[in-house]
């Protein structure tokens, strides 16, 4: 008897099966060969012949192994119909779908890479922007029960403006006494303190606050205590609280800091507490030192405008609306009681979180949020198109499975699972991209600002952000996976199986869907591009617009003279003159000047002004103007244009009749049809009267985007100031001038703290930094949207040409010229693009209205943008069609007709 076992075993060796399994197979096959052998012998064959024929059943040496390998390693496919065996449980079959999906993705690396990258870009952008939405708008403020904290904002009912202040100190104190809505209210003002002793003289940023400031917020010190009520009185309040940063840097973290005496503004203060490094109050900015507000009786009774700000903690059970109504009632009464000062003025109540978010740029973040949402939709449309094309090429596979009994639902589930696997990888890559994006934005935010943004401008891939990323990935995966899933689960077997050519042309519906997706994504890309172009244009215009002076090569030094050392105003004048003379003498300096506040210096004064010879304005109608005292050479140093009259000179000396210079806007407001030169202007609490000697250009003091405001200037000689900003213009950039200016100041007073010596351009850049980051982001988003849109068109056109190669071949064979073929392809592509562009422009007309508030000197329907962007897009789309079109032109009819 021939040894079948040995033959079979040898052929199974390479499979390395489990011994029991191998034994089973060997036994079964042995039996088969034995039966065959016996049948042949019985049928008349010789033993040798029978043996040879039986062995022939095993065919080539490795055929059996190959066949068995596929079976043994094949993942158990589910029974095509439910109810088969015991294997069709939901989780099991979903796991199979996922495995199958992974295999499909592995088999098509090109498709997978493009799809995952596209999704990663879209999801990543959303993750990065959402992390800021989360940090600035969703996360609660870092105080206990932060939703009970409200800020107060002064509001002029007639003129409609809302400011950060409290109407007036006296009014607010009345409100404090009369209101029934707040447990605690606290006042505060940002302040810069001159610190001397314990190191170099330094100007430290901080605030003067009412005694219950920390208590109302719910912030606790890490050392010592916060202020006591009786310390918040003039003369008594020489106590101070340090920030952790200052405690470490200036006092070396002295453990015995509590009770230690420090010198602030030349006076002795006792340290009573230290705040932790995690304490932040974003509205105050960077703060490392606090002293009590200690209002004098005069200040308390002041019904004029106040530089103080306030917040409060609501009583339990009181809603913000109720508090607002309470405030409106109280200020209504004050209006009637004090018509001269309180007419039309009221105090609004709003959540502190909203105010912080607004100041930190929440509107800009929200604009970015909607833009990246659109970009994600564009990316998903691209991927959906890719999946539709990919699924179409698998039409036969689905047709056969359908013929084998796979239900529509089953195939939908499988295609959806494949889609979700793809989106999952896109989501993971997107989270990584998003992290990169977050770090980039963080890096771009200047350190100066970063310190006082909520959460220190630091964003994390925390649970909320990850949850958001997962959520949008899942949502998009399901929504955009349904299209190909639904499309290809319903194939009719016969037409697909009957296809003679290898190109399944796909159902008409699939082609339609792809066209709709492409047009839709182009429309969205156009909306994004128009929006970002308008915003970027705004930024460029604001940066390029003249601020009213020449800001290049101007060094600015700011300081504040302590009242203890410089009690009389003639000392301020003397100091200022001395320093200015020394600065003039510096070889690098071409011209120099001084002012009580310089542009973008962060300081400024306001005063109420009126034309002296005209009837007094009605209460509530008074005009306010920026008020600056300047040296005679200030205007020439800053290169501010003089329109009429003269600038200050030696005639404007102390004791002489006071002069003033006003800007064009103030001239127009007070003397609309007259020459202001020689007129008299009255200002301030003392109702000082000055004679107008000159009219200068409007200048920008705080923001590049500010509207022209009334501004008035008086001579420093006649109105000396304790806060001074020195401006020095150099011929070119001069690395040594900053040190030279510091030395000039310290030559006059060794102990005078200087707050900063920086180029004016830097000061402007710091203020503008937020817009700068935003603009860079917008440029990126605009480019991304365009790129994705163009890829979409290219993909569809490329696919279209492949699909219709057969048809193109026929046309060419029938006499169509290459340029006609080109025209046909390009025409189709352009049609899709144009539909998208037109729809996009119409949508943009509406969408850009929402941007109007954020635009500067650009209308929301700026014609140039609305014409240039669509044309540019159409041209780029044309180029994208061109490559596949050229491919179509070169189709050899003979090859095409044979194309399978």
């Amino acid at each position: 008897m021939p040894d079948w076992k040995e033959e079979i075993t040898r052929r199974l060796q390479s499979l390395k099966l489990a011994p029991a399994r191998e034994a089973e197979i060997v036994e079964e096959l042995t039996q088969h060969l034995e039966d065959r052998y016996q049948d042949l012998v019985v049928g008349g064959s010789t033993e040798d012949e029978a043996r040879r024929v039986a062995l022939g059943e095993l065919r080539e040496e490795n055929l059996l192994a190959r066949g068995l390998r596929r079976v043994e390693e094949e993942a158990a496919l589910e029974p095509v119909l439910p109810g088969g065996g015991g294997r069709s449980n939901l989780i099991g079959s979903i796991a199979q779908d996922i495995r199958y999906g992974l295999r499909m993705l592995r088999k098509n690396p090109g498709f997978t890479t493009v799809a995952v990258l596209t999704l990663a870009l879209g999801i990543g952008a959303n993750t990065a922007i959402f992390s800021y939405v989360n940090a600035w708008m969703i996360k609660p403020l870092p105080y206990p029960q932060a939703d009970r904290l409200m800020v107060f904002l002064s509001h002029d009912k007639k003129k409609g403006w809302t400011g950060e202040g409290i109407v007036s100190t006296a009014s607010f104190l009345d409100f404090q006494k009369q209101n029934a809505s707040f447990d605690q209210t606290a006042l505060w003002a940002g302040w810069n303190f001159n610190l001397t002793g314990d190191g170099l003289p330094a100007l430290v940023e901080g605030g003067r606050v009412s005694w219950n400031y920390f208590e109302t917020l719910g912030a606790k010190p890490i050392l010592g205590r916060t202020f006591a009520p009786d310390e918040d009185r003039p003369g008594v309040g020489h106590v101070a609280i340090l920030g952790w940063g200052l405690w470490q840097s200036r006092f070396a973290g002295d453990p015995k800091i509590i009770g230690r005496t420090i010198t602030i503004g030349g006076e002795a203060y006792t340290v009573v507490g230290v705040m932790p490094g995690t304490f932040q109050f974003p509205l105050m900015g960077i703060a490392n030192l606090w002293t009590p507000l200690a209002l004098t009786d005069k200040q308390r009774a002041d019904r004029g405008s106040s530089g103080l700000r306030a917040f409060g903690r609501l009583k339990a059970g009181v809603t913000p609306d109720q508090a607002g109504a309470d405030s409106a009632a109280i200020f209504g009464r004050l209006e009637r009681e004090f018509p001269l000062t309180n007419t039309n003025l009221t105090l609004l109540v709003g959540p502190m979180g909203d105010e912080i978010a607004r100041e930190e740029g929440a509107p800009a973040v929200m604009i970015c949020f909607w833009i990246v949402a659109l970009i994600l939709l564009i990316a998903c449309a691209n991927v959906a198109n890719l999946m539709l094309a990919h699924a179409t090429s698998r039409a036969k596979e689905f047709a056969v499975r359908g013929a084998l009994g796979a239900t529509c639902g089953r195939l939908v589930r499988q295609l959806l699972s494949e889609s979700l696997v793809l989106f999952f990888f896109g989501g993971v890559a997107g989270a990584l991209f998003g992290l990169l994006g977050m770090r980039w934005i963080e890096f771009e935010i200047p350190g100066h600002i970063r310190g006082y943004l909520v959460n220190y401008g630091h964003v994390d891939l925390d649970f909320t952000t990850l949850g958001f990323t997962l959520g949008i990935t899942l949502l998009c995966g399901i929504v955009f996976g349904l299209a190909p899933a639904y499309e290809h689960s319903r194939h009719d077997v016969n037409p697909t199986l009957k296809e003679a050519s290898g190109q399944a042309s796909g159902s008409k519906r699939s082609a339609w869907l792809r066209r709709i997706f492409v047009s839709a994504e182009i429309a969205m890309a156009v909306v994004v591009l128009i929006s970002t172009t308008l915003l970027v244009k705004s930024f460029v215009i604001s940066v390029r617009s003249s601020p009213g002076y020449n800001s290049t090569h101007v060094m600015v030094a700011q300081l504040s003279l302590p009242k203890t050392k410089y009690a009389e105003d003639w000392r301020w004048r003397s100091f200022g003159d001395d320093v200015l003379a020394r600065i003039h003498a510096l070889p690098q300096v071409v011209s120099a000047g001084a002012a009580s506040s310089v542009p973008f210096g962060g300081f400024g004064r306001w005063t109420e002004v009126e034309a002296a010879e005209k009837p007094a304005p009605r209460p509530g109608e008074k005009l306010g103007a920026q008020f600056t005292a300047v040296s005679n050479d200030y205007f020439s140093a800053m290169q501010i244009r003089l329109f009429k009259g003269r600038i200050f000179n030696s005639a404007d000396a102390p004791g002489n009749s006071p002069s003033a210079i006003i800007n064009e806007t103030l001239a127009r407001d007070l003397w609309p049809n007259e020459d202001p030169i020689g007129q008299e202007i009255r200002f301030g609490e003392q109702h000082t009267v000055c004679t107008i000697v000159g009219v200068v250009d409007d200048i920008k003091m705080y923001y590049l985007r500010e509207r022209p405001e009334p501004q008035m200037y008086v001579p420093l000689a006649q109105f000396p100031s304790a806060t001074l900003g020195f401006v020095a213009r150099t011929a070119g950039s001069s690395p040594t001038v900053a040190t030279a200016i510091r030395d000039a100041i310290w030559a006059v007073d060794r102990d005078q703290p200087i707050s900063s010596v920086e180029p004016l351009e830097t000061l402007i850049a710091i203020v503008n930094a937020g817009y700068s980051v935003l603009t860079k982001l917008l440029v990126f988003f605009g480019a991304l949207a365009t790129f994705l849109g163009v890829i979409g068109i290219y993909g569809v056109m490329s696919d279209l040409v492949s699909r219709r190669t057969h048809e193109i071949g026929i046309r060419t064979a029938l006499g169509a010229s290459p340029s006609q073929v080109l025209g046909m392809v390009v025409g189709q592509g352009l049609e899709l693009a144009l539909i998208g562009v037109v729809v996009g422009v119409l949508c943009a007309l509406g969408a850009t209205r929402l941007l109007a508030a954020g635009l500067y000197d650009v209308g929301p329907n700026d014609p140039l943008t609305f014409i240039a962007v669509p044309i540019a897009f159409a041209m780029v789309s044309l180029a994208a069609c061109f490559v596949p079109a050229r491919r179509a032109m070169r189709v050899d009819p003979v090859v095409a007709l044979r194309y399978e």
């Binding site: 079964e28 088969h32 080539e60 059996l64 036969k396 056969v400 009994g405 009957k498 399978e900």
Partner: protein, 114 residues
């Protein structure tokens, strides 16, 4: 990936159809199945060991057939395969698909001759 009549896809489907239909009536072992196919096709279709058993095992893994060792008196044990309820449904679907395909091909072939 196409499935023309001559391509491996349809060959695979038709092979499955053959086996499933042969075990529909009663359980059979591998040799019996291969003999029946050869006989009923008049020698046109033949399944060798190297292709038959991988196919049987695949059908078994899918749950369309169930294999069991059976020992009869006086004989070595053999592995018998029977159709499962799931396999029954698949067989019905495959039969329909095959008949539709054949009808379609016939329609084309007839037209040519006309």
């Amino acid at each position: 990936m196409e499935a023309k009549a001559s391509s491996p896809e349809w060959k695979k489907v038709s092979a499955e159809l053959l086996i499933l239909s042969l075990v529909e009536a009663r359980p059979r072992h591998g040799y019996e199945i291969s003999r029946l196919i050869e006989q009923r096709s008049g020698g046109t279709v033949r399944f060798y060991v190297a292709s038959l058993y991988p196919l049987l095992y695949r059908l078994e893994k899918r749950g369309w057939v169930e294999g069991r060792w059976v020992e009869r008196a006086g004989q070595r044990r053999r592995r018998y395969y029977r159709l499962t309820p799931g396999g029954r449904k698949v067989l019905a679907a495959q039969r329909r698909g095959w008949q539709a395909f054949v009808a379609a091909v016939n329609r084309i072939v007839e037209v040519e001759h006309a």
